[in-house]
Symmetry: C2
Subunit: 339 residues, 2 copies
Amino acid sequence: MARRQRSSLTDVAHAAGVSIATVSRAMSQPEMLRADTLERVRAAAARLGYRPDHVARTLASGKSHTVGVVIPTLNSPIFADTLQEMQRSLDAAGYQLLVASHEYDPAGEFAAVDKLLAHGIDGLVLVGGSRPEATWKLVESAGVPVVQMWCGRSDHACVGVDNHAAGELVARHLLALGHRRIAVITGRLRHNDRQRARLEGIRAALSEAGVALPAAYLTEQALSVPGGRVGCSILLELADRPTALIGTVDVIAIGAIAECHARGIAVPEEMSIAGIDNIELAAHVSPSLSSVEIPATRIGSETVERVLALIADMTKAGHVMLPIELVERHSTGRPGETR
Amino acid sequence: MARRQRSSLTDVAHAAGVSIATVSRAMSQPEMLRADTLERVRAAAARLGYRPDHVARTLASGKSHTVGVVIPTLNSPIFADTLQEMQRSLDAAGYQLLVASHEYDPAGEFAAVDKLLAHGIDGLVLVGGSRPEATWKLVESAGVPVVQMWCGRSDHACVGVDNHAAGELVARHLLALGHRRIAVITGRLRHNDRQRARLEGIRAALSEAGVALPAAYLTEQALSVPGGRVGCSILLELADRPTALIGTVDVIAIGAIAECHARGIAVPEEMSIAGIDNIELAAHVSPSLSSVEIPATRIGSETVERVLALIADMTKAGHVMLPIELVERHSTGRPGETR
DNA sequence: TTGTACGCGTTATCAT
DNA sequence: ATGATAACGCGTACAA
């Protein structure tokens, strides 16, 4: 029992010669007290090193001043940016962020949500809208405001981007450069609506241009640099080798560049490569990576704004679509004549 | 008040026709109940969708089954690895991880610790041992077990690596290759004992070899890829340009490689570059980065093991030093004869 | 302006 | 094996 070293309201009340209610007010509604009383209480509190107990406060008030966020993984530059900003914004508002991750496992997400809910969060933030009904049931039955990030179902608030459009943007960029043999490395599509939307966007742009996406030109890999390398090497083995390659996230695209480099394939001369996310590193690899800017930081701040609003009054908030844009760099170019 | 949709012990007790004590036992010590009673309670609980309230449980028991960790930033691959593993290990033990970050600001760290403590954490994890006395006072007065990661003061438990040795390793590697003009790009040294230790290690190795580290050969930059680029460009402007360059973290070293590449300086032919951390990306940049492996994941798991042990019995645990090793890749070579 | 007293949902200590 | 009931530390009507 670590507890009981810390002093409580009762201790301070005793020391200041007032009731615990007065001390409680001194902490939350100072203006309700007479100046001298307030001073006396504060002095006593300071002397005893009193610190309010958040747990008791939560139990009594029903508000924990805490919002929970469940993300697929901590190990992603894009999520890290968003989290960082969420933490900042929430902190500024006197809230605490509770993070849980689940490694792209639906059961793990359910467990994480359950745990967070039990911890008495005031608001919940999820990534994407695709999850088992059981999980949705759980959060709905808890009566806690939810906001989805990146993309999500229409029956709950969402702050995100048009992932479908992001896919179209990269694909069209490559098409405009003259590519016709365009291959795609995605993350696992199962349980990942962001990936699916991006891929669909790519598909739409290609078919619109009368370009096919053969099954052999599509490979699902881990959302990591090694994943990108593996995917790239598979595509490079093809008899009818593509002239361009889309990674549905930058880390995959960066892996693809690495693999080409390792095999002595010139980028973009022999192979154009583009990604989506525009993570910081994209500008610094060589060649620098053409990508689609996803405003991760802003997703974080807007999301926080949303949850806090929902916590304040349970007004239904709608969907917010943040702008995205193509960032052309040096990893993409016209298809080589050689072939 | 979102609360009060969820059913409580009382509700279940009522529904099952038993006392709340019995329900409580059904949840925590099922073996104490008669089989049929247990069954009845469980049925009622399931029917009402009962979920124990962690907050109330914490208040009553004095244990929150939660450990807090305060890190400099979420935006670092090395910390991300550690956090990921901590989350995994803690989850397996039925604990929840509470993360806070402070962007390398001591005041921010104090605030974060204060907040975490108020939230009733059972254990606290910090990075490094260098912080204002006020912060140490705070955690000590809270009576919560603490373990430091990476490195730390001797009066508290610590799971880390020998950062000094890490610095020595890279420096010696470069010295062994024949370099004599070795420059260093570190992160900000203030409030960062890991960086200081690494730099001191480098200094020690250099002076041992009779090689000087002129002030001009040392630059403090942000712990990021752009930071590495800036640092590198400064060092490249020098009249007496170094032949090798150490980034005290891999992201900085990777930035340096990017800068050399942008300027058409061949690595390692014209400039050798090495880092510390051995993040995943190090193996995939080109040229691949020579680095010192820091077992980030293992730091996470061992740290968790330690806090949990300390929480179980307040026995003082000592310092654990995890092994590190040099990983030679292709960003380092013998100094060019040209000059 | 300040004090009293009850409730928040559990755990834990006594009884029974 | 099960039931009362007092904490836990705080918020907050309601009284004074």
